[in-house]
Point group: C2
Chain length 558, copies 2
């Protein structure tokens, strides 16, 4: 029998694998089944299609079924659902969704690339007209059509898709409200940085954001058309369009029913070669779990970039070669209007939860030379392991080029570089691209000092707890008097650095917390005081300017 590869799923991992197997092996028969009407589309592009940045849905179709058939001899079966896998017989049963006909097909190798689906919470009224999820091209076509007549939209969920959709809807002129259960937007980020994104959306882009609340009812009229939502805390919001974007779940049922092992995260377990527990059945993309390269733990982080890479690795192995996929850093980026939010590795929440001893550096800086008219402010928050001196995570948000910096640290983390080693990196410089000393290097300098000199600092998100515990702490603010008058922490005293040194060395208070504008000057002062024998000196990472951006602190001035 001719070798036959059957692929289930036709978005990123499935189509990538099909083409790659074909390039490696021209003789194999390849059949791809998908229950969708479209294949090989960019799911990540759908918000831009909805927002009319991309005019036609055809643009986000990477390649057509015809191209696959004629150029690569890959048989694409649209609207064909695989209903069962029979590993003992190396067969699948398939249902043609148009004709309802069912049949069996035999494989030598099988690739499960079933992806993920939107999680739809059991809300009353979810069946009303103009209530959508956003997962496929078909969904996005419906949403775009609906958005043309709607005036008010509600997005349930403030993750990547939720926020990207908010941009699309605002661009189309819709009044937009986001409702999110958790206390922050962008849950993969730390709350301090997520707070900046939220403030930007509310204050500059007119998006209404409701946190720590959830939709309990979708309300409709007699015709079954949506009219609004009601939240658990009793808010009623009118809307002619709702998109539910609370998250996704891996499509593992087919695999599970076939006796394929499911991992602890609930996604399909695979080895580094993307093989499932049954050797001639591979799996790749959103339906599989993988390893976090920093922690070594199993994680499920469904992303298009990962799906593409896993599809490639599976293909090489299926074609008889050898390739491994070693894991992810959870690297991701999202554009929200002019704002970029980008991340790689662990955030502070996770590092803390895992009990990792870490140091952080927070640097707010222009992304290029400050005198360039298009310079934008970015905030970097970088974490390093205190024991090993290696980077373990970076987050970057702001109106400037934040993503570039995240990819540099993602590379450093993959190389297991220490902060000290990284400081030797020769990054490019020209005024339109970066400051002469890149914010990344400033952050790395701070981290190096903190690791080597045992300088302690307080992360803004731990400040409240710290102040509660250290009731006798002297809070010293070394900013200019006018800056101090405008906003300062309760009980803080304003003094110059000279005065600080004199008084502290004389009075020797039990503990001192130093505040400055951006965290640099207070860091230098605490270093100096430590060298002069003061104990319990600390400062606030990122300084007062950063603190002011955190919603909890915005109101809490003296």
């Amino acid at each position: 029998m001719q070798e036959h590869l059957i692929i289930i799923g036709g978005v990123a991992a499935g189509t990538k694998a099909a083409s790659k197997v074909r390039r490696e092996n021209r003789d194999l028969k390849i059949t791809l089944y998908t229950d969708e009407k479209y294949i090989s589309y960019s799911a990540c592009g759908t918000p831009y299609y909805i927002g009319d940045v991309i005019k036609s849905e055809e643009k986000i179709l990477v390649r057509s079924p015809k191209e696959f058939r004629t150029k690569e001899n890959i048989d694409i079966k649209l609207l064909h659902r695989v209903t069962a896998i029979m590993p003992d017989d190396n067969k699948v049963t398939v249902k043609n969704l148009e004709t309802e006909e069912e049949f069996e097909d035999e494989y030598t190798n099988l690739l499960i690339a079933t992806g993920s689906r939107s999680f739809i919470p059991p809300i009353e009224g979810v069946e009303l007209n103009n209530v959508y999820k956003l997962k496929s091209i078909s969904d996005s076509i419906k949403i775009k059509k609906s958005a043309k007549t709607a005036k008010k939209a509600v997005i349930i969920g403030a993750g990547y898709i939720g926020l990207e959709l908010a941009e699309s809807f605002r661009g189309l002129g819709l009044e937009t409200t986001i409702i999110e259960m958790s206390p922050q937007v962008l849950n993969t980020f730390d709350p301090d940085l997520a707070g900046q994104v939220k403030a930007y959306l509310e204050e500059e882009k007119g998006v209404r954001i409701i946190l720590e609340d959830s939709v309990t009812k979708l309300k409709g009229d007699a015709k079954g058309n949506l009219t609004g939502v009601r939240t658990e805390k009793g808010q009623n919001i009118n809307a002619e369009l709702v998109v539910i974007a609370v998250g996704v779940k891996p499509n593992v049922e087919l695999a599970e029913e076939a006796g394929i092992e499911i991992g602890e995260t609930g996604a399909i377990k695979v080895n580094k070669r993307m093989q499932t527990s049954i050797p001639n059945i591979y799996a790749a993309g959103d339906c599989v779990e993988t390893v976090n390269m920093i922690t070594g733990r199993q994680v499920w982080i469904p992303l298009g970039s990962t799906a593409n890479k896993q599809g490639r690795v599976a293909a090489i192995n299926i074609a008889g070669g050898y390739a491994e996929f070693n894991g992810v850093l959870g690297s991701a980026v999202t554009k929200i209007f002019e704002y970029t939010a980008s991340i790689s590795g662990l955030n502070e929440k996770t590092a803390k939860k895992l009990g990792i001893g870490y140091e952080i550096a927070i640097v707010s800086h222009k992304d290029r030379s400050g005198y360039m008219p298009d310079a934008g402010e970015i905030t970097l928050k970088i974490l390093a392991d205190r024991e090993t001196g290696k980077f373990i995570g970076i987050q970057a948000v702001g109106k400037g080029d934040a993503d570039k910096r995240v990819n540099v640290i993602a590379t450093a983390m993959t190389a297991a570089m220490t902060v000290s080693e990284f400081l030797q990196t020769d990054l490019t410089y020209a005024p339109p691209y970066s400051p002469a000393i890149d914010p990344l290097l400033i952050a790395a300098q701070i981290l190096e000092k903190k690791i080597s000199k045992d300088i302690t600092s307080i992360s803004p998100q731990d400040l409240e707890k710290y102040l509660k515990e250290k009731k006798t702490c002297s809070i010293v603010d070394i900013r200019k008097p006018e800056e101090f008058r405008e906003w300062h922490l309760k009980k803080a005293k304003n003094m110059s650095t000279d005065e600080l040194e004199k008084r502290i060395l004389k009075e020797r208070p039990e503990s001192i917390l130093i505040c400055c504008d951006e965290g640099m000057k207070s860091y230098i002062e605490s270093l100096r005081l430590k060298e002069k024998g003061c104990k319990n000196v600390t400062f606030i990472d990122g300084g007062i300017n950063y603190l002011k951006n955190i919603p909890e602190y915005r109101e809490k001035k003296d």
Copy 2:
């Protein structure tokens, strides 16, 4: 005696070091002498000031002498020229350029940060009015003033400054001609990529570029005002403004006269701690040579980013700490209108000259998802060492985000990452930032195959030599017939991949050169033919699309 640090030079390295020393040590006396009127300015920002992107020269002044004096207790002496260093007495002699008064000053430590100066070739008429160099703020003020009335400008030299100035002049409406001695613009880049930049400037931006010629005479009128230039090859070009930007030379005379060792490159020799041959005399910035981290050789690559970092290292050591500067990759970036040209590590010219066995990958690709309206094309050329599998250089040019990719590989080179290790990097992905598989990863995949499978290819810049040597070579072009008809190499035959395989396996020609659009398909075909036992199969890196951009090939179609 109070410890006294004297710094000679007040641009990047000098001012950076002054502030850093002060932060580390509050008791030291610091005096900075400069013969200029301005200090602490961004020399790299001057083209943007001239082009009126930055309106006032004050914007590119980082900090004022007053700030240094009052905030950091650093004594800044403007218009004071240090005329001699006397290491035996730990003294310098200084001349006040305003009063002509001369005096001596004693130091504990000395930092030489004398920078570099423009090299002015001995051209007749160089003393005419409206003939400038661009090195200092004062130069840029004069050029900006002159550009307001001039209609035609000539720039001598097509390096970074020359091309950035061309953008500024065109922006101000001046007819602009660049005259360059060497056969390419941007000499730090390979000619193939530099050819793209040249074509862009000429075809899209109306800049006239004359290569392989030089200015022999600057012509003037009776009043001593410039009227035009004459070139060696006899061209006469009218101009009311000339800027000479043929390169810079390190200012080492002071050091040399004091008996300080000068390195093989002609710049001051320093150790990793930035100490010269006299232990209490440090040097940093454009006046010193450093080590290329890839080759281990001494190089002189004057750049603002390097100057800043060296100033910091010198300062830490002067203040009694310990820091090292390990060398450079020559990382640099320049913006030329909407074009970015960015580089790190070795180019192909240099790798070849040094006899390094390298593989290259050339990838032309959109910088973000192709369906995003603002996606721009970039070309990456990446080199790896064939023996070690490590990256040794990257160049990126194009209208898209090229610089981001260069910084990622600069980090990988600093970490001494192999191409295979890099392929595990989890880079961020979202349609507005990159394609699902970043062009960097595509290039790394090609490099990995070339390193591990012994696939041979021809770099576009070696193609002509190859074709001359291999006169019997079969050239097969596997693009579509219509693409082939539009442009192809002489003697090339057009055939499909199926036909190629059949005919080649039957005819077994002595050597085969495969061409495709972007180098990927031909690479796959040559891999396949090799596996089927064909010897002497090769392909053109970057493909025909890339080749068409190289000036020498643009005209040479069949």
